[in-house]
Symmetry: C2
Subunit: 422 residues, 2 copies
């Protein structure tokens, strides 16, 4: 089964707006064993839209249109689908009543052009929209292509706002498609790794996954993380799950500790889980990352169980006053030095009484002028990690711009934590 998605709206032909609904729709369709063959973005132009609908009906079994169901003159999806299929539109009395009730509830007069939203394509079934005023439509029809052959086609009209589209797809479209399509048994796994080059992951894992011709493998890289996605379809779900279990075990054996999660957890979640299991608490002292590490950890609900907080020691004065770094050390070695990273980690641990103290100091760029750190390169980072027994300090050189250096520095800090907690 092949689906085609047409996103309707002139705003998506500007530099400011992008169709994101199709990613969600594609995931849902793939789950049902339907692949997406084409995506088209069309403006609010009836000639263009009708042409896109004709093209899609020729080549796809399922056509999903998103957007263009509003009440304005620019909302043309209903009209264009009807015209492309040579079908009539009629006004649905129940929808009119619902629209009127919606406006009454807000103590507003319904503008007459809102009646457009009650127009239904001949033969279509309405899909209720709990999050908005425009109902969707579901139309099963037969078309005849130029070669005289007839084809069964399913055409689905969905509203453009993502919260309306997503709810309608989940509640209305997915169950209807499931009922029509043969059952599919698809298992999925995601293995996550941090800070390894994509080419290394591929070189080490492709000899394994390429033996699993019945598993679809995708490698995604970005933001200091590599993800291996595996998808397998079998006659039963158990078979599919078992097949992926076998593959994942082999990959885990090859990549070992480099894999931080195979159940979907983020690196931050893994760190908090490990701290929780071991009954430990964590504090941070951040210089060049300015709170980013802490921000990432506290984005996880209930982080407060094992994360106490810490200090953003952006100025040298705060390094001295909050983390008790000796002023002489800062002057002699510079703030970006292994000695200061060590003093910060130990200092914040002591001040907060946390089990672990972690520090990041470095040059995120632009380069620092005169001073004890001048001459040190942009991207140079030191991370200190102090526990009851010991303090380790590591040096990193991170290429890229300020944002990338800061993000990767926090990735390295989380990875140091993970390896220490393991």
């Amino acid at each position: 089964m092949i689906a085609e998605i047409i996103a309707v709206g002139s705003e998506m032909l500007t530099p400011h707006r992008q169709d994101t609904n199709s990613l969600f729709l594609t995931a849902g369709l793939n789950d049902l064993g339907v692949s997406v063959g084409f995506k088209t973005i069309v403006g609010d132009n009836p000639r263009h839209l009708i042409e896109a609908i004709h093209n899609a009906l020729r080549r796809a079994d399922i056509l999903i249109l998103s957007g263009g169901l509003g009440p304005t003159e620019d909302d043309l999806t209903r009209e264009c689908v009807a015209e492309a299929l040579d079908l009539d539109l009629h006004t649905d009395a129940d929808v009119v009543l619902a629209l009127q009730a919606r406006f009454r509830a807000r103590r507003m007069e319904m503008p007459p052009n809102n009646l457009k939203q009650a127009q239904v394509i001949e033969g279509a079934e309405l899909l209720p929209n709990p999050n908005g005023s425009a109902p969707g439509q579901w139309l099963e029809t037969i078309i005849r292509t130029a070669d005289g052959v007839t084809h069964r086609r399913l055409i689905i009209l969905l509203p453009g706002p993502p919260n309306e589209l997503k709810a309608m797809f989940a509640a209305q479209v997915q169950p209807r498609l499931e009922a029509q399509l043969p059952p599919r048994f698809i298992a999925r796994r995601v293995l996550r790794m941090a800070l390894i080059p994509e080419s290394t992951v591929d070189a080490r894992t492709s000899p394994i996954y390429s033996q699993f011709k019945d598993v679809e493998t995708t490698i995604l890289a970005g933001h200091g993380e590599i993800q291996l996605h595996f998808v397998c379809e079998k006659d039963t779900l158990e078979e599919a799950e078992e097949r992926l279990d076998t593959l994942v075990e082999l990959i885990e054996h090859e990549m070992g500790d480099d894999i931080f999660s195979s159940d979907g957890e983020s690196l931050e979640e893994i760190i908090l889980l490990m701290l929780g299991v071991r009954g430990l608490s964590l504090a941070v002292a951040e210089s060049c990352t300015g709170g980013l590490l802490s921000q990432r950890i506290t984005a996880i609900p209930n982080a407060s169980r094992n994360f106490v907080g810490g200090a953003i020691v952006y100025s040298n004065d705060l390094k001295v006053s909050i983390c008790k770094v000796p002023a002489r050390l800062l002057q002699q070695k510079g703030a970006v030095s292994p000695e200061v990273a060590r003093a910060l980690a130990e200092g914040i641990r002591e001040r907060t009484k946390a089990s672990l103290g972690i520090s990041i100091t470095g040059i995120a760029g632009p380069a620092i002028p005169d001073g004890p750190d001048s001459g040190k390169p942009v991207g140079l980072i030191y991370i200190g990690l102090a526990d009851e027994e010991d303090t380790q300090v590591k040096q990193f050189m991170i290429p890229g711009d300020r944002d990338r250096i800061r993000l990767w520095a926090t990735q390295h800090a989380l990875e140091m934590l993970r390896h220490t907690l393991q």
Copy 2:
């Protein structure tokens, strides 16, 4: 002039990858007065790609294809364009030499299929690619549509990786298009506001901008910010700039202080500028936002000139030990209270000797169980701002999930700072 963009690559028909190049291309084309009429995403399927090329050539003056120029079997853009136009492909000797040199420099043998990248469409000009191995192609041609009419068409093949595509577009495509197209004089302005509902901005500004029929207005909303984009084209740049100056002055008069920037600066940049001009320094004490406010400020280069850092007082112990909040106050009022917000702002200001201390305490969710803050609603936020003379505390109720509550809390903190510094 109408352009059409075809993004080629099966990965963009999965739930994981999206075409983002077209946003960049659209901005560049719009600058030259070219609008985008259609965007299509096609997989690595020659039949589909040729069909998409035929459709585009019928209706657009300029066709830009991105992707499919690599060395693998799946890279089919060159072949499909040649076939769609019934043109030959020939191998360019200079490109072969350049490819061989590229591999030699990396001490690698060139796999034979890389020769694909040296294939040039008959009549096309090569566009050098300083960031990758695949050159782009620029082809001017004449096509005849079904009605027998001939049309001049420009077809541009660009590589898929964004860094290669962007550099090639800027260095090769933009100047060539500029030389061919009549000069256009387009002025642009962006006014930025924080934390106002989009509908309020529209209600207050549309009576003004709707009088400027010669100005294209776009309202963009997201992440606690509203942007008003204005574009105006005239016979001279001065005329266009003057016209926008007039409009912007009227909008600024209506919206007043609500506008935080009309020159592109972010809210964080404006705060740092204001601190710099007034020679003030800032420190933060963050509880529920966990470093997000500090992280946003330190994302700006040279923030250290006026930002000293501060504390992430996630645990109550740290509120007491770093910011000197009386333990009794925490017990009586709870950490999420105006009293504690005040004590945190004053405490961090005193400890860091900064001119200004700002604090955020609140419930980002999920709800806190037993304790002095239980029963307080998720989304309740207090922000304290202490300066030499005075401390102000404000209460906010922010709807939404944890991420939104944290982001909006930092937006409110930045806005409180801005209003105080004005």
